[in-house]
Amino acid sequence: MRRCLRGDAEAIESLVLRFQPDVFGLCVKLLNHRQDAEDVTQETFLRVFRSLRRWDSDRPLKPWIIGIAVNRCRTWMAQRARRPELVEFLQDVTSSRPQDDSAELVREIEAALRELRPEYQSVFVLFHDQGQAYEEIAAALERPVGTIKTWLHRARVCVLERLRQRGMVSEVGHELP
């Protein structure tokens, strides 16, 4: 950290490489656009290094960085809402999973997430896509754990209701998910 503050390029790149996958992954899931995600990732790290002196070293670094990334994504989404809608989503992304017939299901889930309130969307993506625990999300967003649980539960209910309305519930069985 001291080397980063002194402007050591290697130390800076090392810190970027350590957190870039999490930040980029989050930005991609929230923005649904790879180029935007790269831009916001760059902006996030720029702000991280501008504020590094003010970071409290008693707090873990990752939630702080994730919190900055979430805020940058929200700002970007608000600005994008004022521009013409982007149709080029993740089409140029190399998938690490084989193509299957659940493409429509994925599209419906992503559409449902876009309709959520920004804070609900952030919490949903951080929990289900980034695999972060309630406590980590609470630290990143600077909210109580109880609030994070409430937001996530409401987000899930909204997404599930939308999937039902859109006819994505194919069979009604008794099996648990």
Binding site: S95, S96, L105, H128, R156, R164, S170
Partner: protein, 219 residues
Amino acid sequence: MNCLECREFLQQHLDGAAIDTVLVQSHLAGCPDCRGLFEAARQLQRGLAGRRVAVASVDLAQRITHGILRDRARRRRRQQLAPALLAASLLLVVGLYVILTRRPNDGVRNDVVEHRTNFPNSLQQSLEEAGLAVVSLTYRTASETADQTRLLLPAAMPDAPVADMKVLQQSITSTGPSLEDAKQGMLAGLEPVTLSARRAVDLFLRELPPVGPDRKGGL
């Protein structure tokens, strides 16, 4: 079990916690609404597992690092220019104060000026002082900025004349971004000085005594 409890179990299940499946199954058997919700949850988990994993560009980390270093250098240059700008502004304020407090008495304001190039001595002196103050502060600001600019030139600039034009061109080209940044910094830094100097001159010209009725106005 009622629907509220069943939905709470669903949330716990989606959290990854273990639940009493027998109890839930017995409720689902008799509640189509909760059954639909659980089926939607199954689809949700299937869909989440099928979401694409985006891959960043291979050079993203490098681009981010360069961006951070450039931003850092730009902020440092601005911090170094700030004291010079502050000094220049203070000098202007002092110069303006000297001009305004030493101008001729208002009682002789309406006197006719004999010739438009013959100013009263005190006004002549004030004019000279103001001119010297503006020249001095502009020279100082420009010198300090030029010193900072020299620091930006890369160490790779050849000292001796270079026979190979390609090598020289490469050296010059590689300094391009640094000089461009320096130029932008200088322009940004000198703008308030220029504006203040212009305002001071305007104020000064407004305070000049009017010329006689037979002569045209102005210097």
